[in-house]
């Protein structure tokens, strides 16, 4: 341990002030992203890279979603050519397994996505869940978020609202945000049936560039 004298209260202050200052800035966003799996992280990275003010909200303590476990817990992911291009851009190592199929380390991929998103300027909030959306004039104009530890502890506490010009649903299978919208608005979605359609993923796919 460092021999430098330690002032614990300075540390407490530094954590609270630094976090709060950034959080207050992020109460009005260009884009709010619900869900911190690979799709949400890559969207955060790309949008921040293009200069948009982006924040991602992930319910869990850790960010990375289903990517941590690769397939059945073996922490390897497999991508095709379009996915390899993304991993190359993120400087994540790939190895060709078969023509058109590349493997990468799942843990490194999560780490690389996080680092790229933060460095591009995206704000990543873990332990924050998107409970609802704010709708005004028939348009989603923000997200209603809560401390997900409070939620996990089964306590009844009100959320707060973050304004956002655009909201991206990246919670994967649960489609938590979209279902709230469907419940509240009875709107017709831009799909063949006008409703949320059944989706089946059998392996991990990174969104194409």
């Amino acid at each position: 341990m460092s021999s430098q004298k330690l002032d614990e209260v300075v540390i407490s202050k530094a954590i609270i002030e630094t976090y709060t200052k950034k959080f207050l800035e992020n109460l009005s966003l260009d884009v709010a992203i619900a869900g911190g799996g690979p799709a949400g992280l890559f969207a955060a990275y790309k949008l921040a890279q293009k200069g948009h003010k982006v924040a991602l909200f992930e319910r869990k303590l850790s960010i990375g979603g289903g990517m941590w476990g690769g397939g059945i817990g073996l922490n390897i992911i497999v991508v095709q050519d379009s996915g390899k291009a993304i991993l190359d851009e993120l400087e994540i190592r790939t190895d060709q397994y078969a023509p058109g199929y590349y493997t990468a380390n799942a843990v490194e991929s999560v780490g690389g996505l996080i680092v790229s998103a933060v460095r591009a300027g995206a704000a990543l909030y873990n332990l924050m869940s998107v409970e609802d959306v704010m709708i005004k004039d028939a348009r989603i104009c923000g997200v209603v978020i809560n401390n997900s530890a409070i939620e996990a502890a089964g306590l009844h506490v009100d959320p707060i609202t973050v304004a956002a010009k655009y909201t991206i649903e990246a919670t994967g299978h649960p489609l938590e945000v979209l279902k709230k919208v469907e419940d509240k608005c009875n709107i017709r979605l831009n799909t063949p049936s006008g409703k949320i359609e059944a989706v089946s993923y059998t392996h991990l796919t990174l969104p194409t560039n």
Copy 2:
């Protein structure tokens, strides 16, 4: 989704073969590290950087330990000068908060530590817990590991053994490995009392270089 034709069985094979090949190589290590928090990750990075064959075993699905939550869930960490040197080496951005106190983004720090450790050559195993140690001739010569999902599901399944010249305890407060050693050996540890001594951390400290 890519328009490229997808062969799911090739993907299954790629995941299983790639993971297993590396896992078999890692059954004999220079250094086994128990625990994937910042201390374990930094040890993995430094040792791998120096050319040692290192694997880290983390019980949780995600790697990063207590660092994800910063302080009380506000995802900011605070370091002093020695810690700043480490973050600089890992190319993680710091901001001076007060003389000798620097803040960094906790999520970026986890991502950066993971990426550096993997790129240096360390193997990071998530969902793997160190249940016990292998002791021969009064010396720890390996770790006994298990699939931690099996453990979490409360199932009784036998572990396997990984040989290691050195074992690093990085499980933090629980000191899970060290307690096993103390239970099994009745050895005198290299501390004033000869036993595990009470330790109190009030904030996060990265091990100095």
Copy 3:
């Protein structure tokens, strides 16, 4: 314990390599069976006996399903003439209780079914659940499986795919696979109503030969 010198790492290697080699071979099957109760086991035995490449996937750590408990936990099963023929073939002892009714030891019956299925060449995977099916050109062409300990531990990890020319639903009352198919395809089943029909079993029946 044996006085023979023991090399734990050889044991670890033997387990991983032997398991993985067989698992890779079983990623393309003639028949995939979901569920390891008596119906699934007997199907595995009969199909393997006829030379088909068969693997059975059972969610629990143990194989045998509801047969272990006989009736209300009294580990005796009762069969009629057709069931007796099967038990005779499996060399499981039966005793006549009344004309046309035979009792057998439930535990021996599980053991006998397992041994016969494995010896006939079927692969039995415990701790593996069938999460979904792979459908191509309106035909089930494989199963999507996961480590069921991960599932039981409530972790979000992606599954992998196993190709199979035929898939047998043997999960019993839950009909887990068939319900997935019904959900995904809106297909008309080959039943009077075109849907899964309510089924009531009041005692254990082995499938007839």
Copy 4:
């Protein structure tokens, strides 16, 4: 609902800024109180009334502790003469039940204690647990606190430190803070045995003035 136009982001900002400003001020206290039952609340009230800078930390979402339930859930409390004097001071109604015995409404008593403590200037933090104490030069000089929802959700997140000239243990039977001190210091307490002594409360008593 009000017809006044509502700006949700202003509300979010108001909550975060107001809370944080006060919290930063309270990182250095005259007195830190662990536990928000009647003893802790009354201590907070009295000390704040005398001009001390006081904050109380309560693990639960609600403040009031065991007082809410009166006796066996019948929300009535009973006090003797000294307790009646306190309730009179807090303007909480009492009724004489028998000579020297007075009843009061348990719910009103909690409300009255809270209002008096806040108006006297004490800061009351709910959802905050005291995990540990900070000891320097053999003296308790602060408390180590955490978000108790995080704790209740079983997540591993580091605490922060609050400096305090004095710390009051008011967690009641659990004596959570005192046990930490005893564990860490092997100090001799100011009791007959030098250790924490068994305490038995059979009914609620307010600390005398």
Copy 5:
């Protein structure tokens, strides 16, 4: 502790007799209120102030509902002009944050609401849930209540009935009472659809005066 001699049995008697006497009086009410959050508490206060015989039933051990946690656990509430008028009436301190927006201490607000309601003459029952309503001649004429600890412990125990000329639903989002009514009566509610309509609260609002 007081030096006055203590007779525990007198205390037991005082609690039981005082509670029961009041409870028997409250078995016939002018108004029964289900739910002890800010809306229910304020209704109890206003109605009692106007001379009505009112009792409020809250399932939890503590009264105050979602107000304890402010927004995302930061114990600050924000009101606009109409809300400020209420807080002024309750003598709860407010601070202007921005024109038309005022902050108040969430904990003090709960305490103040409770004290005002009790002093106005309302009876507040914690640990009591409203399980059902009594309907006679197509009119709600009372509530069916139970000890909510029994309910929480999963025990099967019958409730009792309290007569009330009017019943107020103040359980918030769950709308527990109204749903029972809808289930039992197939009545048309006084809403556009005739049914319970989806409601979305994004922040805390006190009922206007």
Copy 6:
């Protein structure tokens, strides 16, 4: 259902008043019995029969303890000659199984013990646990009881006290009351070791007359 008009509030009043009147009378007892298994019930019956004022407190909703399940859930009990004499006295049917061994219906035995105890004048309180004992002048002079549903729901609520000249420990293996006494008093019990001694019951025995 009866065609007689039903006044639910009269029923509520009847339950509350009848229960409370008896409970108040039982706050001062000759004998308090902790535990409602066969030993406690028989003690209650015999002591009440002899004219003592007795109340029994049982934590569970039902009274009868381990007797309900006979042996391994087969609801038959077996007694020898002394036990048969008791069952004869309680008018519970026995059948001789072997010389000196008699079987009885376990469910009837519970019912018969309850009816005999109540008719003899004992008060039986279910859903009430004995948390502690009241000790004055080195003598147990009462029990400290609580609503066990509150306890089961994990809520923190204070108990009340019941005075008793004698207290009988009938909680069986847990010896809950005796352990409290040992903890609080460091007294020497009237056993060979002076401490609670290990006890092993392998079948049900009724206390002899």
Copy 7:
């Protein structure tokens, strides 16, 4: 404890043989009753009294259902004239509370019902749940029962069948048996709607004679 020599194996044999002999006799019944609350117990008593072969199956370890807790856990029940006649017949003491309203001890009432039912010849099976019914020729001709401890432990074990000329649904609100019948048969029940109709009990009523 008795000084008589004790042979534990004789006791084990006595329990198993006595239980099994009776159970085998009860596999063909006149009437099977599902549910051991007051309605089921009284039906068992009356039918057995009239010479029918009756068995009652109760899921819980104790018999008596919701009657144990009186109202809100106060163990008093209230009956009107028709109920008083029943209690008189069962020799359970009642006290007039108001004209036409009588109170009785809930615990004594359970005991008395059990004793009367057993003495009249009814078999009472605790720890046995009715999982399903046996239907032949569009008529319920038996019940399908299981060990409810196995069910509670979440184990998958097959049930057994008991033949019965008549089956009585006495599970109260859950209507577990009737719902199975409705699911399996799509039959029209003898009610206004032809379906199970919503039922609301606000207090305990014993079935009239």
Copy 8:
């Protein structure tokens, strides 16, 4: 399904009678074995083969213990020469992996051990736990068993006793039986310390012949 007419009550009778007849015979044993893992199963097989009257009691619904999961859930076991001899005797297929190391299918091994034990004449009781031992004249003369579903459901039900000339502890790491003996007898075990000594298994070993 068979076209043979089915009499469900005959099936119920057959199960109950067949089970009970055997169970009554097994209340006096030569050897009682606690635990149904590979060690217990092999002991049961060998002792039964030599003509001893043996019963094995296993707490779980399935028999086989830790063997089902091979190592870390990969269902392969590894044996050395002595273990291979056992598997050969049980007709379980082995493959040489390295000189002196053989692999076998874990699932087949469980099945084979069960079949051999039952065919040799051992009685295998699943869902039965050994709770205690019967000690007379300072000698273990039997086991005290219970239905483990009842135990798992958290119900308080008395066990029954089975006499046995010898008792084998085969519960593995938990050493459940031996710990009971140590607790009850304060006897000196036949080990260096006279106490149960710490044991570490790092892989599966079958008992040598």
